[in-house]
């Protein structure tokens, strides 16, 4: 049974989307994510694994194109529908939701430029793909730069002693790229292309960055071993190495002039999406716990008949509902406002990932010993939720970035 919908203006299309994606997520993604959780990271990404089956099924449903305009053959969902879609997908598996979200990075940037060559290279093959062989990744994190890369307009962004480790220089009218992206690149081991954040002008520090769209099947690109990690094990992550890789000039879509602003715009959309993902995860943990509490007998009666348990379930319910209300509002506002107001996206990401962590932690407490066992999937949801407080920017650093924005807005250039 789905949650009570508080938005009385939800259309039949929204409701249908919610039910359809929820069903798919529970029938396909949840069981697959539990199987993949038991495999090594290498086994997850191996051709023929159920990771690829699930991604192909999502591509066949057109799910990879939710952010691509119908002008190019995508689903082009409206902002509320986008939130509903990501929430329901993450209900079954947040790792698969993140993988699918990253898959459209290059194509999404290309549609923003509407340049025919970029559309031909990065959008059309992606939209037409049915087997997930055309997939993007967000190449931003580096061994020496994590969440700091997501703090544009901070004072250290212009410190020339701090630059991205992946750098590009011009040679014979083309860009030549060298350096390393870290093991935290989502889809790194499986992507066919990348929205690569890199340095073009070291004298400007991190603000001397650029963004290029790059084919990963070319000379000079190698990948590290897929990362073994605690949560979201169905999401492949891994290093990418660039050794004198040639990139055509037209694929360098952002230069230092607009790098900070584009990073902020990207963060605005990515963090808003994180809010939707972790609302879905929190709802899944709450539903699982509510069901368990109606079945499990302790102290001579069902758990749900204990007054403290009822109170605890209510606390979890409030966290899920506030996460949904806030993350929907932030996403709808920022998908209707360009440039987005990034502090709301950050607030949504931070709030929803922490709510999901608290809800899954409370869930384990209510499951008792079984919460710690592999017998129930709640321990996986707990591990998945924990990862959310670090991925897409650690919550601490993001909070400092948003706090800095709030003060700058109040004080202006003072």
């Amino acid at each position: 049974m789905l949650y009570t919908e508080l938005n009385l203006e939800l259309t039949d299309e929204h409701q249908h989307l919610k039910e359809q994606v929820h069903r798919f997520s529970m029938e396909v993604l949840r069981p697959a994510s539990l199987e993949l959780d038991k495999l090594s990271a290498e086994e997850v990404v191996k051709k023929g694994s159920i990771y690829w089956d699930c991604m192909a099924k999502m591509y066949q449903n057109g799910y990879h194109t939710v952010l691509i305009s119908d002008e190019y053959g995508g689903l082009g969902l409206d902002p509320l529908a986008v939130h509903i879609f990501w929430e329901e997908l993450a209900y079954g598996s947040v790792g698969f939701a993140v993988s699918l979200g990253c898959s459209c990075f290059a194509a999404f940037y290309a549609t923003m430029l509407a340049d025919d060559r970029l559309i031909e290279k990065f959008v059309i093959p992606f939209v037409n793909c049915k087997d997930a062989s055309v997939m993007s990744c967000w190449g931003i994190t580096e061994p020496e730069h994590g969440s700091d890369n997501l703090a544009p307009r901070s004072s250290f962004f212009k410190d020339a002693s701090l630059t991205q480790q992946v750098k590009a220089h011009k040679k014979n009218g083309e860009w030549v790229i060298s350096g390393q992206k870290s093991a935290w690149i989502s889809n790194g081991p499986v992507a066919s292309n990348c929205a690569l954040f890199l340095n073009l002008d070291p004298s400007k520090g991190l603000s001397g960055g650029g963004i290029c769209l790059i084919d990963l099947h070319q000379d000079g690109i190698t990948r590290g071993k897929p990362l073994e990690k605690m949560g979201q094990r169905e999401l492949p992550q891994g290093e990418i190495f660039f050794d004198n890789v040639v990139c055509p000039e037209e694929y360098m879509i952002v230069d230092p002039e607009s790098y900070e602003a584009m990073t902020e715009l990207t963060l605005g959309h990515a963090n808003a999406t994180m809010g939707a993902y972790f609302t879905g995860l929190a709802q899944a943990a709450y539903d699982m716990t509510l069901q368990y509490c109606t079945e499990r007998i302790q102290g001579g009666k069902r758990l749900c008949d204990h007054q403290w348990v009822q109170k605890k379930l209510f606390d979890m319910f409030v966290k899920v509902e506030t996460a949904r209300a806030f993350s929907r509002a932030a996403m709808i506002y920022n998908m209707n406002t360009t440039p987005p107001d990034v502090k709301y996206s950050i607030a949504s990401k931070v709030y929803c990932t922490e709510a999901a962590f608290q809800v899954t932690s409370d869930a384990i407490q209510l499951f008792g010993g079984y919460g710690l066992s592999k017998e129930f999937p709640i321990e996986k949801l707990f591990r998945d939720a924990r990862a959310g407080m670090i991925e897409d920017g650690s919550n601490d650093t993001l909070s400092m970035t948003a706090g800095n924005i709030i003060i700058k807005e109040k004080l202006g250039d003072e």
């Binding site: 119908d70 409206d78 902002p79 430029l113 879509i253 607009s258 715009l265 998908m335 360009t338």
Partner: protein, 131 residues
């Protein structure tokens, strides 16, 4: 000093541009299909230009009572640079030179429709002595 010396000149130049866009059969068909009303809220010089799907598509220079689907706020100079392709949409949006209100999917959907205007604008600007 802005490129457009006054509001009337801006209306003349950009009005000619958008009317040329609506004369392009493909652009017009796609615009009418998209069922949107665009408002350009321009400053320096101040003015409003609307492209409406009413009456088979029309351009209105000045204020109206219509309700826009997408509202773009920008300066006359940014408008000029944008149509000359000296300013791309992502850079303009990212740097706050153009601010858009309205569903982003609809804004992105609009971009391919603008190609005939990119082609037409240099000639129009030249004719009016702006380049």
């Amino acid at each position: 000093m802005s490129v457009f010396s006054n509001t009337e000149t801006m209306y003349e130049v950009l009005g000619e541009l958008f009317n040329a866009l609506l004369r392009d059969p493909t652009a017009k068909e796609k615009f009418l299909e998209s069922d949107i009303i665009i408002k350009f809220d321009i400053h320096d010089p101040a003015g409003q230009i609307w492209i409406s799907n009413e009456d088979g598509g029309k351009v209105i220079c000045g204020s109206t009572q219509l309700k826009p689907t997408i509202e773009m706020t920008l300066s006359g100079d940014s408008c000029h640079k944008f149509w000359l392709q000296e300013l791309t949409m992502p850079v303009a949006l990212a740097k706050g030179l153009i601010k858009a209100k309205g569903p982003m999917p609809k804004v992105i959907k609009l971009l391919p429709l603008l190609k005939p205007a990119y082609v037409a604008y240099p000639e129009i600007a030249k004719k009016h002595g702006l380049i």
